[in-house]
Symmetry: D3
Subunit: 291 residues, 6 copies
């Protein structure tokens, strides 16, 4: 039988962002509303939609060869898997998320130790238990089926909850007293599959292309023309990281400069390039960047 | 301080149906998108949105005086609460739901005993463990974060899952081999609150009005005129359950008949009433029925 | 085998209005987006969604026992079916539709005869051909796949098209020169099925309830109290059609009047009733009216 | 020429609520998205959509015979019009709105006098100027094109703004220091039109029906049966306002009671009626109530 | 009068895809909801929305100079038109569609001959009649107004229906027994218009740009830098089809490679390019490709 | 304290277009539905949403350092501000808008003088008053709260109203008799802020980037290869405005041409380039163009 890579796609809040990332990387995944087995335009891969919370469990057992899930859920399950690459994206942004210990704004709690004997609600029960056990703080950890941030003070004394910006915590008048973990999306692989040459290379190629597509989202291409005499000034403006490509033009007084920039720096770089003698400055979008 | 009844409204799939039921019963509950504390136009009541899965836990502990949740989750938590009334409604219909043991259509499993040593995925972990323990069948019960019906056979051998019509199970090519429990929505109360006269009466009035509003959804009013000589024939057509009200008219040859009927029988009763001599037959909608 | 009535529901523009009418009449029809066989909560009936244009063809041949379609399509197909009842409702209103012959506003055509030798586009090809053949006017009738009103003058010389208010014709700068037919929805039955007692009675009951539900949409109930001395004045205000029910009250100086009215007349009747001595005037909605 | 009543319908926030109120009162107004001249199913009336702010101006001048607008805008324009009836409804609720003077929460201003020499932003410029002039407080009143509540403290020192619940003011951290006016919707008429018998009677009938439809929204019908011996107890429970109708039944031991109640009291009345011996208690909806 | 090209745009399922294709090709077509004469930002062209089924008829007669429609409808009408270019796109994909002969899964029919004497429902009546006539198989072909795939076995014995993936046929439990035709979108022209130099050149330019825009949807640009010594290895990886452009850089040890690739191959090519010594690999999107 | 630029974003019809333009220019502005203080990913800038009508007033007074608004509202307020750059975009298009004097189609008014003594409704009261005062034409100018074009002839004799295409005026049967002003969006600055070096440079950089992003929307990049012998013919086809960049290829018989073109000319240029010997013609999108 032909080789097949069984790949888990996270169902739920990461699903659309993950499918969009694969599309930019070169794979069309089509998840119809009803099926948990999305189609993918690559005969080598079989996809399955799996909750991020359960992904590491199934990759560890080998039901899946590889999958994408948050680092948080790998830790919650203490799963023994190969961590191939980190891909810092989430539902809304391209930042890591944090799991924090939060208490009501007007409560007296200032540090984890103050919660001895109290009830802590969280979706991340095992991780939270280990955290407090390591510190020898006796607490009661209760599983929360969601809406965790609304529970204190009526239904719990404190919570361990995920946050990107802290705005939902603030809206519920909660105060962070400790950050327990930072987490980001990871491509993980089953350890046996990782020993298989075909599967490992396939997973590595997926990793390369996902990273190439992610890099392209924050980078842009920039082309400009400059007289030889101003080239040095122009190059001084450009970030040193990626050396620009300089090509000869037919008119030998001029050269063309082509480079890659962080999109976030463009609004400062272009005015400086113009001041340094650049002309015909053009920014163009990129689909993939592999340096 | 004035008396207050702390009332839990089930968040999620039952939420809209519950709020609509309260509205028909006479209470406006307004749940804004962001708050977990809906307002209610009754100064005696404080509402809180709580997941059905956690409702019984909080009613038992007294964080809430009363709440609505499924019988299934009361059993899952083995919560010690007062069961005030059953209200057979769900997200989609007015039928009880069933929790069933289901296996892949083409699997060899025919009865619970065949699953000895296998993995069973479910949201109802404790109930399922007790069920198999009572039968002395050793199984591994794994918590499922949703999409349970898609897990067999790759990720589990069997599932315990809730179903109204069985259509989702059939769509996933699963076969039911046992019904473990039937469940319906219940109004439950904290046992201490139930001893308090003011709270108990308030809860009982809520129960009376919710039942009155539910009854009105399946019943209609029917008025018709009939000559004295045909009255017997007309009454013979009407269901015996609720005796109709017969009033004298100014024209002494005629009487007016006013009654309440199951809406589902009207399409058969009206043609018969007409044949029996009824005239001016009018059906009108009801908002509450308390017999 | 048990008796079954095969009933055709018109797919398309009449579908929602038809299903809503059946609901008000006492039958829940559930048409999922994908299936052409809607479920109905009556074990005696099997539904099928069929285009109104093809309904009469299939009822005539007996593939269906009964169905709802426009009179226009019965005539187009010259189908030999039993016409059980007319139900004047359409997608938007409760008026009959008209099939008209329309020409460009600024064309010279004034009467059907002026179109001799011209091209006429229509969805109703056979009916149109017969119409002109009977008048001995030679024309070329072309089948139009929709958007007929936009075809003149580029793609046709005149059209035969359906209209409720004429607004679409006016918007396309067309002028009506003749009305060929008025049409409304009809419940039709297969002639053999009509001979079967069980099927005929079932169809007649459906007809009774559909008419009862339609009548209720334009009628309301009205109750008021009046002193004996003013009764005559009050009754003079009420339309003579349906005699009101007058009942004795405990207070023998007063009587209660209960009647049914066209909703469209209420805004004129209530002020007059009040002027005539009526008090406690209450209007209430009706679900069915069978006089 | 036939008589015609030119009626102004408020465009904007009150539009949908007004059209819905007319529909319940017996008039279908159809406002297509593009036209400012809605159709109405009454040959005696011509409708025009006009901003509430400008309504009184046009009714006063006679361009319209009658119209609906808020009392606030009548006062802003000091329009000389006939005030026919008040209709307490607004976009969201059935409460009066208030125009208040509000300042930043943490500002030193405590009373109107503290604002001498300051800038006040408002949509109600003339009314506000008169208010401060009467108190001899010199202020600068600036017209605000909306979003008034966001202007302090950057763009204004205080505002005069409309509010139903105060929530938008609180969300913008503003503090109310004075209520300048309460306002509700009014049906107003041109004074000359009011002298015309036909127009006045038409306007009065509209007023009667609008009030009848509004009353029906907060009232319900209640029917029950009761034995003669319990009738007194049952009547004691019912509010004294509207005397119930009591009718004889064929079975002379029982009477039927039919009454009208405030919907908001039903949830308290029904349990008491049941305790007092009422049976077969049925609540039904009303469409109009004219006492 | 100035030259004008009368161009037919297919109304209905192809409409949005066609307008989007023209936009990518450089023409903005704006079809307001109500008009059948979309505006286009090209003074040389007049557009008209016409059903795909009728397009070939009107192009043949000269009411339109050119238009887009499926090959299927050209054949159905046996229209005598100039076929300018094929453009393989459809509502959902970029594949050809098939017209197939399908029968109920559990019917005995295995080949066209088995349908002698049977009823065949289809939208493509004339083509289907010719097909069976050529094979000397006598069948009754009935025009179907849509929903053809639901007709067997109740309303027809077999169907001739269009399909992209066969999924709708399978969902209705139909089995394909023959493919009668493959079809794709075509740009067709009136034969007289094609003789006119101005019109032919205009149509050819439209054809060039539509093809250029379609090509760009499946192709991407790729730039990379490589040392002279690795250039041969890098070139070996690139598909031979389009020769890449190699330009000198200022640093004479390096060259820049710029090429065009099928998007579907990129996910395999980039890892190989990297392995072969490519660096600074950048993929960028293309809007048009004309080789 | 660090430098901060207070920047006004126009709320309402220009808001989405403005935020989109800033995004293309390199700034992410996030306006949540409820707040009037959008966040921006630039620590140097503080944004505030302000109505276009009030923008110039607040920039003049210094509550804002800079802002975007229409030239019309600068003139209405006679605001004394620095006009930094014009940015011709509006809600729907990239054209200037016009303020025109319009009268009913069938009115006798032909020129402004004909309106002496008449009522003119407009949102631009001060500008209109000045316009007529300069011409010594006495008119009554009334403020209109919107829907101005529907007022004549019932509620006003003429209007001064903004229009892009005139279609709304035509739909209301109005005739333009004079254009009073053309207007486009402008970036304006407070005169004191403009004297501050840091603020002026920040504003100028914003201006440069907004213009660069706008230019990119109507321009595209074009690359092609050509043999040396055809280069002259190819260059003759290209517009003279921006001189193309010509680079040497490894194969010395060929050169690569890279240029920037107006998107609207591409559909005519590409066919000519191909005819002139261009090959491998590729169009690619641009994000910014600074020449």
């Amino acid at each position: 039988m032909a080789n097949k890579l069984k790949l888990g796609i996270p169902k739920g809040s990461l699903q659309d962002a993950t499918i969009a990332l694969f599309q930019r990387a070169g794979w069309e995944i089509y998840a119809s509303g009803r099926s948990y087995f999305p189609t993918i335009n690559d005969g080598d891969i079989e996809c399955m939609l799996v909750r991020a919370q359960e992904m590491a469990r199934y990759v560890e057992h080998g039901a899946l060869d590889a999958g994408l899930t948050g680092n948080d859920w790998v830790l919650e399950n203490l799963s023994d898997v190969e961590r191939v690459t980190s891909l810092t994206y989430s539902k809304q942004s391209r930042q890591k998320v944090k799991w924090v210990l939060a208490v009501p704004e007007d409560s007296p709690f200032q540090k984890p130790e103050d919660l001895a004997g109290k009830i802590i609600a969280t979706e991340l029960v095992e991780f939270t238990k280990r955290y407090f056990a390591e510190k020898n703080i006796p607490v009661k950890v209760e599983f929360s089926w969601g809406a965790t941030e609304v529970k204190p003070p009526m239904l719990a004394d404190a919570i361990v909850e995920v946050t990107e910006t802290g705005s939902s915590l603030r809206a519920n008048r909660l105060r962070i007293i400790e950050t327990l973990m930072e987490s980001e999306t990871q491509l993980i692989a089953n350890k046996t599959a990782w020993q298989n040459d075909w599967k490992r290379e396939k997973i590595q190629n997926i990793s390369l292309m996902l990273n190439g597509a992610m890099a392209a989202q924050t980078q842009v291409g920039l082309m400009l023309n400059v007289k030889n005499e101003s080239l040095k000034d122009v190059l001084a403006v450009l970030p040193a990281l990626n050396s620009p490509t300089i090509s000869h033009l037919s008119n030998s007084e001029w050269v063309a400069v082509n480079t890659i920039l962080d999109e976030s720096t463009v609004r400062e770089v272009i005015p400086k390039l113009k001041a340094a003698g650049g002309t015909g400055i053009v920014e163009y979008p990129l689909s993939k960047v592999v340096l």
